[in-house]
Amino acid sequence: MAELLQFAFSGLTVGAIYALVALGFTLIYNASDIINFAQGEFVMLGGMTTVFMALAGVPLPLAALIAIIVTTGIGLALHRLAIEPARGASPVVLIMITIGASVFLRGVAQIVFDKRFHSLPPLLGAEPIQIGGASVLPQSFVVLVGAGVIVILLWLFVERTLLGKAVIATAANRLAARLIGVDTRRIVDFSFAVSAAIGAIAGILITPITLTSYDMGTLLALKGFAAAMLGGIGSPLGAVVGGLLIGMIEAMSAGYISSSYKDAVAFLIILIVLVAMPQGLFGRIKVERV
């Protein structure tokens, strides 16, 4: 039982990060139909910028804030400088641009920062807490609470604000949204900025546990994309559930089956789910027009 709890906590922690990355994918996809493979680089940038700001003597909270602002700026720049000029290109081409951007950001990161692993001091100390026989790092709670707060804020924002409604309208039907006066270009700008900010926060939260390095983004983008698809692309609820599920499956299969096959088990389950439910867990069925 203690073992199960132990695995569950580590699964939830990693899953929360996957969920945040998947949420970033979902936001941008809903606004623009683009799968942004540079999403993982936002996470890396958040962690790395904070680390290097802190090394330069900036107090940690300020360093984190600067990292979020810098990453948000990079997200905006990605849209303005690379995606906007290619407007109207086919989805595969737009995805290739984001892959190019992710290689570019990784390349820049290894010049500006370095190629080593870095860590940050945990927010609530490093002494593990005992819960039902499982020892849990306090930072795990920080990650879970942080992810929960982001999800709730995002939900409140889309439900309660005018800009949020415009985001929903854009996601539902871009042309119709434009017709009723929504500046959809601004909405896409906005979704890139928010996705980048969420990625950066995820990176700052997870760095004390998993460390960060210039090339950590690829694997996270992969898992986040898989999580978004497992949940059903375009569904924010699906992204969160998908992320937590993949985190849990990985932790359980690493614990009970084999740690070297944990990714294999996760993707095998994704394959089985998709074959049974081709739209993911919460995706809408799209009808093809002829």
């Binding site: 799968i35 690379a82 000029p85 290619a86 290109a89 086919s90 989805p91 595969v92 081409v93 290739m96 641009i97 892959i99 190019g100 951007a101 992710s102 290689v103 570019f104 950001l105 990784r106 390349g107 820049v108 290894q110 010049i111 690829t218 992969l222 994309f225 898989a226 698809m229 497992l230 692309i233 084999s258 070297s260 096959y261 990714d263 294999a264 993707f267 095998l268 994704i270 394959l271 998709l274 074959v275 081709p278 739209q279 993911g280 799209k286 093809e288 002829v290």
Partner: protein, 316 residues
């Protein structure tokens, strides 16, 4: 159109590509260039296969390096563990890849768009994970040595020999792909690309055609993987990894989806570019990413179709 004109129209690109293969070495100052040339043609072979799937049938695969891995490890494991001749293992690998594509393709080709992308991605990762972890067979993450190819009692080695083998095989694969696209299957695939439902209404067995092209493209990748392993003499699980799959897709899109000739151009750009960029040392990755972005922004149809469109514009 007369038979002769038809022949010329269809054979012209093949003759052109064959001419490129033959003339190019005249400008090679050293054996190193043969090596790069061989790598270009080997990659291009896999890219032609993937382009059939992506450009013509409109189905994305983010796991094609998995088939590259199956082909590569076939010519490594076969001779080492079973003492089988390499050339036989190359064929067995291709058949194995086709069989795996058949088994995997049947369920997952029902998926569409990004869902198909993630399913193929999962498949590719599974292959890479198995290759990494079954160290008893594959040598694990460090990879394994690949015995040289023996043909007619002679050991095939040297960049120039491989240049000609890869070049000739590429021309063959190129011709096959062109013919395939002009066949009823090829036309059916293009109909599926435009609209699956419309194709079905026309009486096309959509699932079967998609599966056929998936198997064929897997076999292209497998042969390319076998060549790569035999040529390098060493193979690691990275060959089947996610970045390998992404690179193949990038070559297809960069050269031009649906342009078989574009496959060669896309492969050439992405094989040669990193070699050139090594001069810039730590700036290599950043520049590579930047160049891919710039190409895709300004030549969004891919290099070959974009240039063709410009040329056509001038002619008018």
């Amino acid at each position: 159109m007369s038979l002769r004109a038809l022949l010329e129209a269809r054979l012209l690109p093949v003759i052109l590509v064959a001419a490129i293969v033959i003339v190019l070495p005249l400008f090679f100052p050293s054996a190193y260039y043969y090596r790069i040339g061989a790598l270009v043609f080997i990659s291009a072979l896999a890219v032609v296969g993937l382009n059939l799937l992506m450009g013509f049938a409109g189905q994305v695969s983010l796991g094609h390096a998995g088939f590259l891995g199956i082909g590569a490890y076939s010519v490594a494991i076969g001779p080492v563990q079973f003492g089988a001749p390499s050339w036989l293992c190359l064929f067995v690998g291709a058949i194995l890849s086709g069989a795996v594509a058949f088994a995997v393709g049947r369920p997952i080709l029902k998926l569409k768009g990004h869902y198909l992308a993630v399913a193929t991605l999962g498949f590719g990762l599974l292959v890479a994970i198995v290759l990494t972890n079954e160290a008893g067979w594959t040598g694990g993450p460090d990879g394994m040595n690949v015995p040289a190819l023996m043909l007619f009692g002679l050991r095939v080695h040297g960049s120039d020999v491989w240049y000609w083998i890869a070049g000739a095989t590429f021309v063959g694969g190129f011709l096959l792909a062109l013919n395939l696209m002009e066949s009823p299957t090829g036309r059916a695939l293009q109909a599926i690309h435009d609209s699956e439902i419309a194709a079905r209404v026309l009486g096309i067995d959509v699932a079967r055609k998609k599966l056929t092209i998936f198997i064929i493209s897997a076999m292209y990748a497998s042969v390319a993987g076998s060549f790569l392993a035999l040529f390098n003499g060493l193979i690691t699980p990275d060959v089947a990894g996610f970045l390998g799959s992404i690179e193949l897709v990038a070559m297809v899109v960069l050269g031009g989806m649906g342009s078989i000739f574009g496959s060669l151009v896309g492969a050439a750009v992405l094989v040669v570019l990193p070699q050139v960029l090594t001069v810039f040392h730590e700036y290599e990755q950043a520049l590579l990413g930047l160049i891919v972005m710039v190409f895709m922004i300004f030549l969004r149809q891919g290099i070959v179709p974009s240039i063709a469109a410009v040329l056509n514009g001038w002619r008018k």
